[in-house]
């Protein structure tokens, strides 16, 4: 526990002091270590999606006509809406991080909640998209059916579509949960200009989610 002298110091000069874990010498060292760890984690995420991207490229080379035909079935307008939603969510996340760095609690909470709303919007659009696919009989797994006799390998395109977008949706949900947690803590005044590591790291994760979608959108909706 902090001593009375230390607590007085925190009260007098709140933004200049903070607690760090015992194995770090300074707050800066802790921040740098956390950020480096986050970059390493994000690289594993990039490798995960990189493998899936390679699978898409290989099958696209093997079955170009099938992929071209299947891409025409995808609704690019919904994909565009989702892309814009995620881009705006990245803007709000950046503004939230900026607000936290400026010790502007109110703006930070507002921007974080706006980011969560954008994430929810993305999920709603995705729900309609999946529902339409299921309506057409395009299910993942053994119940797959496709009205296109000439394209017997369409299941490969849609398997990749479901695997990659569902993995991405999972990341969106995890990101939204982390942002909600950050907004709760921000509303309690836990973050300020000398301590914003969780918000910064959550923001990096959210930007990665957007980064992945930036490539998923052309791969499944635009490339024909």
């Amino acid at each position: 526990m902090a001593t009375e002298k230390q607590i007085t110091k925190i009260g007098n000069d709140f933004f200049k002091t903070r607690f760090v874990a015992h194995h770090f010498a300074t707050a800066d060292q802790e921040f740098d270590a956390c950020k480096f760890g986050m970059w390493m984690f994000l690289l594993t995420e990039i490798m995960l999606f990189g493998g899936l991207f390679v699978a898409w490229v290989v099958y696209r080379l093997w079955y170009p006509e099938t992929f071209k035909h299947c891409a025409t079935i995808m609704d690019w307008k919904l994909g565009l809406v989702n892309t814009c939603i995620l881009i705006v969510s990245s803007l709000t996340m950046s503004l939230a991080i900026r607000a936290v760095k400026m010790s502007d609690k109110k703006t930070a909470v507002k921007m974080l909640l706006a980011t969560v709303l954008c994430g929810a919007g993305f999920l709603i659009v995705k729900y309609f998209e999946y529902a339409h696919k299921f309506h057409l009989g395009i299910f993942p797994g053994e119940n797959f059916s496709f009205d296109g006799a000439h394209y017997s390998n369409a299941h490969i395109f849609f398997s990749l579509y479901f695997v990659m977008t569902a993995t991405h949706v999972l990341h969106v949900i995890i990101g939204m949960t982390a942002i909600l947690w950050c907004s709760y803590r921000a509303s309690r005044g836990h973050f300020y200009k000398d301590y914003y590591t969780p918000v910064e790291l959550t923001g990096m994760y959210w930007h990665l989610v957007e980064l992945i979608w930036i490539f998923l959108f052309p791969m499944f909706y635009l490339i024909k």
Partner: protein, 175 residues
């Protein structure tokens, strides 16, 4: 939380925040590149077909569209990583980590593509001609589905009766 777990220190670094103007500028560019990609994918093929009388499905044009679209997506990705994820203002070790990871991913793509684009598949006639035995037949060329049925007692697998075996030669060979 014990006193051993945490200790009080001063943070000396000044936070580097992206300016509001830069954040909106990046957002504008991202949306602009996205709309450009949609334009290339949806509108340009129709425009070329209409004004140049080139079929919409011309393969060589499709390759160009796809390269342009992925190029646009890559620019968007660089904007997100560079400015939103703030890697341009990050520590050198973080920059090195990300860049080296991206390079390794590039090698991964390169190796896979060099294999996929140069390898002939088992279905191609050239593959069978070069590597398979002279009398090799693909499954589709066989007269029917081969089913191995064990010979009855007193007969060999090729249908011939085994000499000296009792009761042979009257029931035929069931294949």
């Amino acid at each position: 939380m014990s006193e051993h777990d945490h200790h009080l220190v001063e943070a000396k670094h000044e936070p580097h925040a992206i300016s509001v103007k830069a954040a909106f500028g990046v957002t504008f560019l991202l949306i602009a590149f996205t709309l450009f990609n949609v334009f290339v994918s949806v509108c340009v093929p129709h425009l070329i077909e209409k004004f140049l009388n080139v079929p919409n499905s011309a393969a060589e044009y499709s390759v160009v569209y796809n390269i342009v679209i992925m190029g646009g997506a890559t620019v968007c990705g660089m904007l997100v990583v560079g400015l939103f994820m703030h890697i341009i203002a990050d520590t050198p070790v973080n920059r090195l980590t990300f860049i080296s990871g991206t390079i390794f991913l590039g090698f991964f793509f390169l190796f896979i593509l060099s294999d996929t684009m140069t390898r002939r598949t088992a279905a191609s006639p050239e593959f069978i001609k070069d590597y398979a035995p002279a009398d090799f037949k693909r499954a589709s060329e066989l007269p029917g589905k081969a089913v191995l049925v064990p010979a009855k007692a007193g007969y060999q697998d090729n249908g011939e009766a085994i000499k000296g075996h009792e009761g042979h030669g009257h029931e035929g060979h069931a294949h």
